[in-house]
Amino acid sequence: MTENLHLLMPELLLAMLALVVLVVDLFLPEDHKGYLPWLAILGLIGLLVLSINLLTNTEVTLYGGLIALDNFSLFFKCAFLALGIIVILASMDFVSRWLRSPGEYYSIVLFSILGMILMVEAQELLTAYIAIELMAFGFYVLVAFGRNNRKSNEAGLKYILVGAFSSAIFLYGLSLVYAATTVTHFDAIETSLRLALTNADQIGPGLWIGMALMLAGLGFKVAAVPFHMWAPDTYEGAPIPVTAFLSVGSKIASLAFMLRLFSEAFLPAIDQWQIIIAVMSALTMTLGNVVAIVQNNYKRLLAYSSIGHVGFMLMGIAALSSIAIEGLLLYMIGYAVTTMAVFTALTALFNMTGGEDISDLGGLGDTHPYFAAAIAVALFSLAGLPFFAGFTMKFYLFAAVGVQGLLWLAGLAVFNSLVSLYYYLRIIREMYVKPSPESVTLLMSHSEASNNISKPTVVITSLSVLLTLSIIYLGVYPFHLVKIIKAATLSIWD
């Protein structure tokens, strides 16, 4: 049992790091709390280096097939560790300004990341379930972290109710699958499915109902239509860095888990579920993009836009194949980088102005030319315009979906991209054409008078620059990333 324990070092150390942050917080005096995020970041960087050195090209399953350590897991492990670093960097200023208990905040972020990593590694349903819960519990707390903010509390309550409900549905589906097949390992499920498909009378409808319920549970986690209702309220209420973390981390982890589940366990039944997921994806992208048009709060707008992006990403699962997995992984990375870039810039602005409406961005091109440009670049990228990551990722994924015989879905996605351009342009117009609203101008002049209190910090500015450059890099030359993605894809699809 323990001979391969060292391969799990990154996970074990990450759990330890989260606890260390929690403990150190107890002993740090109030005015030194600023060291906590740096401690977490240093730890994460160390883990990133360790994981790459320890695990590159490892292909093993541990503990009788509970956990798979392969290039696919490694790819996402590195992605989530990097995401942790970015989220913590983006949160630092926000947490010290607006939230209490930084120790708990950073430690819970780390626990959530651990949950995401385990989700992608799980090769057995119960292990996966526990990992999902570990991630979700972290998010329940984080969403409600603005304790004195009514919206944040409301969001937290909604999220925990819906989350608990969806977990129950997932668990029920899981038990039905277990009842039908008497196994929970992915490869064993695949074998039973194959049998079931050849002898239709051998296994009853429980298996199909179970699979459908699991899909519904996961649909809640990724906010796919018709399980998306919680997302806009939760996104609006949560503190901005948490919204970013939620819309990137939880979605990508759930989709990556779905990738492994569907390609390692449910693949034989692709004819049965492909059309369901394709329709779900069509509904999700259409609803997300159309409803986003009428939003006035930018967090709500981005919530609906991220529902739209989930619709795009679900296409990759509907068109499951090696080219679609590559496209989906590229999309995930591009989406993560771009979304984090938007939210980083918005966090920086929120720290200065405290406004959350699109109209609060008025005149940004004059008052903060750099952040306006960063937001514009990121939004153009999300809309899928070239030179930016969004174009490459959409082109790859849509072409892959088309090749798998779902040209109608790819076509719908192309038109949804067009719709999304409209509401992204609304924000850009606000920033560059409209004058700044009185309140912001006043606040700006006031802050300049009082010694530039609300200048963006160096950390968040550099992070924003870095993310913007990454968007352009991925848009102009994705060669190296695609090479890594190919290696990751080979682990779950050969």
Binding site: L385, P386, F387, F395, F398, A410, L418, Y422, Y432, V433
Partner: protein, 519 residues
């Protein structure tokens, strides 16, 4: 040897100059735009000078490419290729120009330089303006110089992207009381129309890619695709289904009726230099896309759908001309005349015979220069009079003699006066159309006659006649403006009097293109 190291390097670079010159034409605007980002905002002089030298260099390089293009050899020249993405997408950044794209590159270089010079007086966010302008040009140059559909589409969309801020921020709102078009409205309309067009193109590209993966490894290379097309990989049914995606998708940008309505609004709202680039060069991207993807790769589809394109093109010519006649705004007249002239280009393409297609490509060049000149002159007039209302103008020729002469040159080209470039191009198109669809050729000639009516009426009403007292203090163009526009007028005259250098190059490309069509 060591002390000659640098020299040897220079020699070897010069030796390979032809292999990198297209990269340079693409790279110079990108580099100029990218470097300008780091200029301080208030150093307007330095920004302008840097943008000017970037444009001048691009223009000279494009002239070099055009002049040294060997039309006897034909085919893609100045070519090169770099792997961008491996299997299964197989995208290569491959570039090279043929007889059809060479004049387009030259056109882009000229209009870019003229546009930069005509933007001399932009004071508001000068830096941002030139950064976006340079990226716009880079997108245009890229589209004309690549040999891979992915990158063609990449640069095509890149050219659309900067239009929104350029119009929304630096543009003009048109307000005639009952007729109001805000610049934000026009910018949004233009962007959404063009991106909707490119959505169709995108679907078409995916469909092509699917077909190629069905017979082996997928590819986006235009040469491989057209080879596959000759080998019969794309069935006639496939071609007939997907040719309209390219025809309409690219047609939107070419101002194809009934998807042209963004064009007058957009051109009028845009600042002078952007109107010049947009009407002069960007609309040609649409026609170029139809040639490069639609007609090259899907010949059966093209043959099947060309009657429709011919018909729509005729509507374009007449509708544009009649609409231009009814306009009060000087810039709207030019905007609708662009719609009308692009109709001639589409008609020429739809003939699928060498004369008509050659005429269409020459018309693309000629119209590009002519419209750039039009918009530049209108910009000069607007800067001085602050109105574009034709009824308010009158007798400007007394005060702005040279400006009006330049406008007259553009106007006379537009109505097809012999000796100017428009005549050569239009006569070729008319002959080509007569061969395939004689009744429509008659209608097109009628369109040209209507053009004569509105151009001459415009000249009479706005520029000649007694001068209104409020224009007593007008000044003629500055040397900077007159020389630039004089050069544009000179090119029009040159092409009109001696079109052979252009015809030879264009013919080599068109002949290669039309080998697919049994005529």
């Amino acid at each position: 040897m060591d002390q000659f190291g640098g020299l040897w390097f220079l020699v070897s670079v010069m030796g390979n100059f032809n292999e990198i010159v297209l990269i340079a034409i693409l790279g110079v605007p990108l580099f100029t735009g990218g470097t300008l980002i780091f200029f301080p905002r208030n150093k307007i002089g330095a920004i302008r000078a840097f943008a000017f030298f970037g444009s001048l260099l691009t223009c000279l390089l494009s002239l070099y490419v055009f002049v040294t293009y060997d039309y006897h050899a034909g085919g893609y020249q100045f070519a090169g290729s770099v792997i961008w993405l491996m299997e299964p997408l197989n995208i290569n950044f491959s570039f090279g120009i043929d007889g059809i794209s060479a004049p387009m590159i030259l056109l882009t270089g000229i209009v870019m330089l003229a546009g930069t010079i005509m933007s001399w007086n932009i004071k508001y966010r000068t830096k941002d303006f030139f950064v976006l302008f340079m990226f716009l040009v880079a997108g245009v140059v890229g589209t004309f110089s690549v040999r891979d559909i992915f990158f063609l589409f990449f640069f095509y969309e890149l050219a659309v992207l900067p239009m929104f801020p350029l119009i929304a921020v630096w543009g003009n709102t048109t307000d005639f009381g009952s007729f109001l078009r805000t610049k934000e409205y026009s910018a949004m309309k233009l962007t959404l129309y063009l991106v909707a067009g490119s959505a169709l193109v995108w679907i078409g590209i995916i469909a092509l890619f699917i077909e190629t993966t069905n017979v082996g490894s997928g590819t986006f290379s235009i040469e491989t695709l057209s080879q596959m097309s000759e080998d019969g990989v794309f069935s006639q049914k496939f071609q007939l289904i997907f040719f309209p995606f390219f025809m309409i998708g690219f047609g939107v940008l070419a101002g194809l009726w009934p998807f042209h309505t963004w064009s007058p609004d957009g051109h009028v709202a845009a600042p002078t230099a952007v109107s010049m680039i947009h009407a002069g060069v960007l609309m040609k991207l649409g026609a170029y896309g139809i040639i490069r993807i639609g007609m090259t790769i899907l010949p059966d589809g093209a043959s099947g759908w060309m009657p429709l394109l011919m018909g729509l093109g005729t509507v374009n010519v007449l509708y544009g001309a009649v609409s231009a006649m009814g306009q009060r705004d000087l810039k709207y007249v030019i905007g609708y005349s662009s719609v009308s002239h692009m109709g001639l280009v589409l008609m020429g393409l739809a003939t699928l015979n060498p004369i008509g297609v050659t005429g269409a490509v020459l018309q693309m060049f000629s119209h590009g220069i002519m419209t750039a000149l039009f918009f530049a002159v209108v910009g000069m007039i607007y800067e001085r009079t602050h109105t574009r209302d034709i009824t308010m103008l009158g007798g400007l020729a007394h005060k702005m003699t040279f400006t009006v002469i330049l406008f007259a040159v553009a106007g006379l080209t537009s109505l097809g006066l012999p000796g100017l470039s428009g005549f050569v191009a239009e006569i070729l198109i008319f002959v080509g159309v007569f061969k395939t669809a004689a009744p429509l050729a008659v209608l097109a000639v009628i369109g040209a006659a209507i053009t004569a009516v509105y151009v001459l009426r415009l000249l009479a009403k706005a520029f000649f006649g007694p001068i209104d007292s409020k224009w007593e203090n007008l000044t003629d163009g500055e040397p900077r403006e007159l020389i630039t526009n004089g050069l544009l007028a000179g090119i029009i005259l040159f092409v009109g009097l001696w079109p052979m250098p252009f015809m030879n190059v264009i013919n080599s490309g068109v002949a290669e293109l039309l080998t697919r069509y049994a005529i």
